[in-house]
Symmetry: C2
């Protein structure tokens, strides 16, 4: 079987169950761009990032401004690489973890593009891709860009403690990544005549499953993999059931970012539900840093973790033939320091996006 989700041109069949959708035009990925922090640049994907910063300030006087600048550069370069000029893009979706999503708002304020902010925490990139596909399939634009960002130091001081305090974190904790990543979808993207980006093979989004918010009582902000694993399992199971698929319809099923702790839980839960995935399972949180890097603990996290791994690992692996069909399932922990301090548990969400290579 070459494709997991069958192509259809029948609009009435776009919907496959309450939460799953096929994209008949299979929007192709035209270009990506990543701006990575210094630690991320030293990791296993370092050589695959487009820009690696030498320090975490990026010439700005605070981390929040640095994050905005990283996201702006990622979006601007991604759109320019794919379409020639940023004003040529149809819609731009952004997402980030900063209070009131300021990284995205400040990133696009000089770009003159139609802007829609999304929030699914670390699953925001997947939400953006899904909404971009829906807008393109609906005939509202022929191209759309999705850009997300996170910054370790900005996130730590906002969610936990200022990094200058050097507070020790438990082994279940994950490391918020300093990274911005953008992807451009373009319905004309596989038309060689109009393309000024690299030629195929083309990576296309064939379908998606939108998440429900799942909350299982986990209250520890240093153990988000455990909080998010049930949401990942819920969405991936729903995806399989809605499209009548099995794990081996995909060459790679990659969540993000559950880390070591959450990945093990997700694989166990999937097997217990009759869908063993361990032989083709990976997690974006396990790809960004070398094993044994101090303080990374359970793995990477942050809105840009799954997006950065998408651009620098999944896309490049699909382009060189490593995987043909990938289920990309970013996860997000939908809490805030306020809800945590008020004793509330950590709800989570996972949106899944099906990717396939075509020649």
């Amino acid at each position: 079987m070459n494709v997991a989700i069958q192509r259809t041109s029948d609009k009435a069949t776009n919907r496959r169950g309450q939460r799953s959708f096929a994209f008949p035009q299979r929007p192709p990925l035209k270009s990506t761009f990543t701006v990575a922090g210094p630690l991320e640049g030293k990791g296993p994907l370092g050589q695959h990032f487009d820009t690696v910063l030498t320090d975490t300030y990026y010439g700005e006087r605070c981390w929040e401004k640095a994050e905005s600048k990283m996201l702006k550069e990622a979006l601007k370069n991604c759109i320019e690489r794919g379409l020639g000029h940023e004003k040529a893009v149809g819609l731009v979706f952004t997402g980030d973890l900063l209070n009131q999503c300021i990284a995205g708002s400040f990133a696009v304020k000089d770009l003159s593009v139609p802007h829609l902010g999304v929030y699914s925490a670390c699953a925001s990139f997947a939400e953006g891709l899904i909404l971009a596909c829906m807008a393109m399939e609906g005939g509202f634009c022929s191209s759309a860009a999705v850009g997300v960002s996170s910054h370790h130091d900005g996130a730590e001081r906002q969610f936990r403690f200022p990094t200058e305090l050097g507070v020790q974190r438990p082994p279940t904790a994950q490391w918020t990544t300093t990274l911005a990543a953008a992807a451009l979808l373009d319905l004309g993207g596989d038309d060689d005549a109009s393309s000024n980006s690299s030629k195929g093979p083309w990576i296309r989004i064939t379908g998606a499953t939108v998440g429900e918010v799942i909350e299982m009582g986990i209250k520890d902000p240093y153990n988000m993999g455990t909080a998010m694993a049930p949401a990942a399992v819920d969405t991936i199971l729903t995806h399989f059931q809605d499209f009548n698929l099995r794990p081996d319809d995909y060459d790679l099923i990659i969540t993000g970012d559950l880390g070591k702790v959450g990945s093990a839980i997700a694989c166990d839960l999937m097997a217990s539900r009759g869908y063993p995935v361990a032989d083709r399972f990976d997690d974006c949180g396990l790809r960004l840093y070398q094993v044994g890097t101090p303080d990374i603990h359970s793995g990477a996290s942050g809105t840009a973790c799954s997006a950065g791994v998408f651009c620098a690992y999944i896309v490049k692996g699909m382009q060189r033939g490593k995987w043909k069909r990938v289920l990309f399932a970013p996860t997000g922990a939908l809490y805030s320091p306020v809800s945590y301090k008020q004793g509330e548990p950590i709800p989570a969400i996972c949106h899944a996006v099906a990717l396939e290579v075509s020649g």
Copy 2:
């Protein structure tokens, strides 16, 4: 002329310029539901809210939990009113001002609905309506709900000072409203046989214009009307130009929430650009409270201000024939206390939604 935006069944013409879109199926509004705070209940729209709370805690021990509960009740009742059961809805979009959008995430965690978080600050309701229409037009769902919320006391302590301090605010300041509002769009909504909500006239969304982020150097968080007025003018002008319309193609052009200060600026700017709107202009921030209510100053604000006025004022006015064609243009200030304290200006956005009554 009966309709402002002409109906078209040609998918290729969905796009009217870079930022403006026609919705050929004209998604009808099926139901709404509002949960208002005590002060809002005493205002001129008090009798039009579905629920009015007697205190700002709604039986919870903190305002953030109260806001989530308000949003949950608004969404649940709105969907039940329109579709019978909340699980029958296709997609649910939520937006709020709390850090990491926790009002929305916690509101839907017990509802078992596909969830997509949006963020355009106080313009989030319009963003949700636009994305809901795009998803419906693309064939991905036949119904979608949009719910937003804000809470005065939660917002004040997050953005400015705890309300217990009684800090005096200048006359340009606006009053964040305590309110949750939800609207359900349903493509089968005008089919009387399937309808268990009130019968027509039907209010339909015919088109929309997505905002760009505009920043004009305003840095005063007590003067957001001034910060947002240029974004409103930019989006409304773009709407007129993209659809080749004039102000008198609408019976009402209502921004939200510019307040007294921002409304005057917006009208002046529109006139100076050759599109005088003052004779049919209103602002959602001017509708929620009685003139002269202490501390309201320039008017109402908050994510739920424009949404609450939409449900309790615009929709009811259109239903009883007061206006046939309305341009609803909520505005949002895309800043955070962090960006403000770092000396950054306040970027703003406005998304416009065109509404028409049909028999």
